[in-house]
């Protein structure tokens, strides 16, 4: 009776750890290099933004956004406001209704799950760098 109880207790911790790991890994099946932007979005009553690198790099080389448009290469280091975008900066250089959809299509970018922290997600081999 007590033996089986202590056995159960001894097994509970590693089992819980495994269950958590499995649960978390199943949770983040984001495509490699998906970026969540949520420094302001939810505070302002919008869903977080999901930026898919895979979609954009089919159409643009890294240098377009990271040299020409000025996005720093560290998730969370660019404070992008809707004012910037509407004025043609950052995403707004393309998302202007000419190269890509215009900023009034709010939900197409603000498509993230509520509550997500900002950062880089995804990858079935690694889960991104240790420091953003």
């Amino acid at each position: 009776m007590t033996g089986s109880a202590s056995l159960r207790a001894a097994l509970a911790v590693p089992l819980l750890a495994i269950a958590l790991t499995v649960g978390l890994s199943a949770e983040s099946r984001a495509e490699y290099a998906d970026v969540v932007l949520n420094r302001n979005a939810e505070k302002e009553g919008m869903r977080p933004v999901v930026f898919p690198h895979w979609f954009h790099r089919i159409r643009f080389r890294c240098k377009v956004c990271h040299a020409e448009l000025g996005f720093k290469m560290r998730a969370g280091s660019n404070l992008v406001t809707m004012g910037d975008i509407i004025d043609g900066r950052f995403c707004g250089a393309c998302h202007n209704g000419q190269i890509a959809w215009a900023p009034e299509n709010c939900d197409l970018c603000h498509s993230g799950k509520p509550g997500l922290p900002p950062g880089i997600f995804g990858g079935h081999e690694t889960n991104g760098p240790g420091i953003w």
Partner: protein
């Protein structure tokens, strides 16, 4: 009895989650970052629809992005402003010549096909031999090469893509490049950098300062 059931359930869920991760792209509604109840979920392109048509790979997006680019399957724009120069550099740098792993060949060409010089120089790397203290510890922490590799470029599980040249071969190439450099410095021929005198056996055509060897 119940314990056995729990273990079996766990084993099955482990296996099923492992298989779900390989060789397929998650649907946006199931990827854990998109809101499955959001209005965009039926409008956005699914990763599998776009990426399954590109040259395959075993890691990252499961796309070999350099092959996709060079084969012309994708034609990503190099600029928004057409006046902006799309700079390329075809020069290999050999690093980590005496380690326990094979040496690293860093190809500027593959990097400048995607990136601009200013993305790395001089914030991440000084363009000077031995000045950067490159370490796998820092890279694994998301510094240096790890700013991109492990986040957006091929992940750090792909050791042999960087550590790709046997040490004695890399040492020979670097020795030749350094001899070339020394000849130029001694002969005062620094003005003719990039002319016909390409070094033998070196895959790159180094201009005046061939760096390699040190970190």
């Amino acid at each position: 009895m119940s314990l056995r059931r729990i273990l079996t359930t766990l084993a099955v869920s482990l296996l099923s989650s492992a298989t779900a991760w390989s060789g397929e792209w998650a649907k946006l509604s199931e990827d854990g970052v998109h809101d499955p109840r959001g209005p965009a979920i039926g409008l956005l392109q699914q990763p599998g629809d776009a990426l399954s048509n590109l040259p395959g790979d075993g890691a990252g997006n499961q796309v070999h992005w350099i092959k996709a680019l060079r084969s012309g399957v994708i034609r990503p724009r190099p600029n928004i402003d057409p006046a902006r120069e799309d700079r390329r550099l075809d020069k290999d740098i050999y690093l980590d010549l005496y380690g326990s792993m094979p040496s690293v060949r860093f190809p500027h060409l593959a990097h400048t096909e995607w990136l601009d010089c200013t993305n790395c120089h001089d914030q991440l790397f000084l363009p000077k031999r031995g000045a950067n203290g490159i370490s796998m510890f820092l890279i694994l922490q998301g510094q240096q090469c790890g700013v991109c590799h492990g986040a957006v470029a091929f992940p750090l599980t792909e050791c042999s893509r960087c550590h790709s040249v046997r040490n004695h071969i890399a040492q020979r190439i670097v020795a030749e490049l350094e001899a070339e450099e020394a000849r130029k410095a001694a002969g005062g021929g620094s003005k003719e950098a990039g002319s016909a005198d390409a070094p033998r056996g070196a895959p790159a055509k180094p201009p005046k300062d061939a760096r390699g060897g040190a970190r």
